[in-house]
């Protein structure tokens, strides 16, 4: 894959102008997680109304892939029910990014999803996708 394919325009756009970036005051759900490999940290805040995601914000620090994934994910969860959010899996995130990733950058791509799952399930999950890596 060429560099231009890897850092395709949509990824750079989400990196440079991340959607729903920041924090919420008095969020109903808030979760944080980190990628111990590279020190990336992500926090997600959710405002829930009638079981629907009324507002979502991601914040933290990370590489372009982790930030773009968070930005794309935030657009995907807006307005969804919590059950629908729980249905989002690693393939959905990889489809949004639209690139092939090696095992190290895969963890960057999935950090936002992992943090979101920690939030909606309220418990620490294994890495999303780990169960499928067997």
């Amino acid at each position: 894959m060429s560099l231009d394919d890897f850092y395709r325009q949509t990824i750079l756009d989400h990196y440079q102008n991340p959607r729903n970036w920041g924090t919420l005051e008095n969020p109903d759900i808030s979760a944080q997680d980190a990628n111990p490999l590279c020190g990336d940290e992500i926090r997600v805040d959710l405002k829930i109304k009638d079981d629907h995601v009324e507002a979502v914000r991601f914040s933290g620090k990370g590489c372009s892939i982790s930030r773009a994934a968070a930005s794309m994910l935030s657009e995907a969860v807006e307005g969804k029910t919590l059950d629908e959010v729980k249905q989002i899996n690693r393939d959905d995130v990889l489809d949004m990014l639209g690139i092939e990733l090696g095992p190290v950058r895969l963890k960057c791509a999935l950090l936002a999803l992992k943090t979101l799952k920690v939030g909606v399930y309220g418990v620490q999950q294994s890495w999303p996708g780990e169960e499928e890596d067997e």
Partner: protein, 415 residues
């Protein structure tokens, strides 16, 4: 210390041709390998030694009396002697084969530490340690109720020894430190610290994973009690390294692991131990990689540590100059004169992963992350750095390609 050898030109471009990996391309471009701090590439001489063992005298050591078993045993013990001479140990009895630096340090923390460190004792480390020289001591301290202290680093990434007397005060049992930082490249004044630690009765452990390949070490000049290194960071294979230990200390230590070959006599009621160093080498050792390590040591010594150090300094100086011309780069650590062949840097607020991915597409392999030194990065105030590190197969032309790649990353990610 040793005197400098007479000026001798080493043809590093010719050296590069000994490394088969550089015949292949990465993303269609020549591989520029700048991650030797993580592991070095292997010359054909090392690969041949590995294969020669398996093809011509593969047999277990210290057991059989047939010809190839005798040959394997003789050559295995020859490499031990080679390491003893390399480190200027007093005897080959002071060299224990291990999987590498991490296992060597764990051997000391288990076999020496558990016997000699107790409740309230102090272990002194530094803020720039690799996790391999931090986590084993945290585990020992937790088990024994001992306390860890840390020599701080200054703004240039050098050890700040102004408070050393205070840090050495109290029930100090052990000082363990890197001879050369794996992130900053800083060369630490080990001899001075060892002298002052010994005056307090402490034992001194040196992590030579980076310094041995880049500077060479002399355990008697350093005055250390233990020294750990890995073969794969000095052109050897993975999975083989050694621990140097003073004979008197090794003799007084219990074994690290139990099993075959480390015993003198075994009865169902109990066992007695083999002599130093074999009492620390339980089970079938990594014979093949030991043979290859012997070839790696020959290769490195033929170039000479003075030439390697001068070459590293030239590459570090050139990297510092080229990256310094790019606005937004920040280089961590001391001046090129005070460091080995390592340059860690950041570029604006662009993440190290993104810089490394752009460089990868230029064929340039660098490390991005915290390089197994999270506390050091916390002190530097960054989550991750990009690290370029050099060895004998690198040339100044590699650095031009590195700098071009960094400029490309800056252009791509500027916001």
């Amino acid at each position: 210390m040793k005197t400098l050898a007479p000026e001798r030109r080493v043809d590093f471009a010719a050296i590069r041709k000994d490394f088969p990996i550089f015949q292949q391309k990465m993303h269609g471009k020549p591989l520029i390998y700048l991650d030797s701090t993580a592991t070095t590439q292997k010359p054909v001489q090392v690969l041949d030694a590995l294969e020669r063992y398996y093809r011509t005298y593969n047999a277990n050591i210290h057991r059989g009396v047939y010809a190839i078993a005798e040959e394997a045993t003789t050559r295995y013990e020859e490499v031990r002697g080679k390491i003893a001479r390399l480190l200027n140990a007093r005897s080959h009895h002071e060299i224990v084969f291990t999987r590498g630096t991490t296992e060597s340090i764990n051997l000391v923390s288990h076999a020496w530490g558990r016997k000699n460190v107790g409740q309230g004792d102090v272990i002194l480390l530094t803020e720039m340690e690799h996790h391999s020289n931090l986590v084993p001591w945290q585990m020992l301290a937790a088990e024994k109720g001992a306390t860890l202290r840390f020599i701080p680093i200054d703004g240039q990434g050098r050890l700040d020894l102004s408070g050393l007397d205070k840090l050495l005060d109290g029930p100090l049992k052990l000082v363990s430190l890197a001879h050369m930082s794996n992130v900053l490249g800083t060369i630490n004044p080990v001899a001075e610290i060892a002298r002052r630690a010994h005056a307090r009765g402490a034992v001194v452990v040196v992590d030579a994973a980076q310094s041995l390949p880049h500077l060479g070490v002399d355990v008697q000049a350093l005055g250390c009690d233990f020294l750990a290194f890995s073969g794969h960071k000095m052109l050897g294979p993975t999975g083989i390294g050694a621990l140097y230990g003073k004979r008197s200390l090794l003799d007084a230590m219990p074994p690290f692991m139990g099993g075959g070959e480390m015993i003198r006599e075994v009865k169902l009621s109990g066992s007695t131990w083999n002599d130093t160093p074999w009492k620390f080498e339980a089970g079938t050792m990594n014979i093949a990689d030991t043979m290859a390590l012997g070839a790696a040591i020959d290769y490195v010594q033929a170039i000479g540590f003075d030439a390697i150090q001068a070459h590293s300094r030239e590459l570090v100086t050139e990297t510092t100059r080229l990256l310094g011309e790019i606005p937004g780069t920040k280089i961590y650590g001391p001046s090129p004169e005070e460091r080995g062949g390592i340059v860690a840097f950041t570029l604006d607020d662009i993440h190290a992963h993104d810089i490394a991915t752009v460089l990868d597409h230029e064929g340039v392999a660098v490390r991005a992350g915290h390089h197994c030194a999270m506390p050091l990065h916390a002190k530097l105030g960054v989550a991750a750095t990009t690290r370029a590190s050099f060895y004998v197969y690198n040339l100044p032309s590699d650095l031009v390609i590195l700098a071009e790649g960094v400029r490309k990353a800056k252009k791509l990610f500027s916001r």
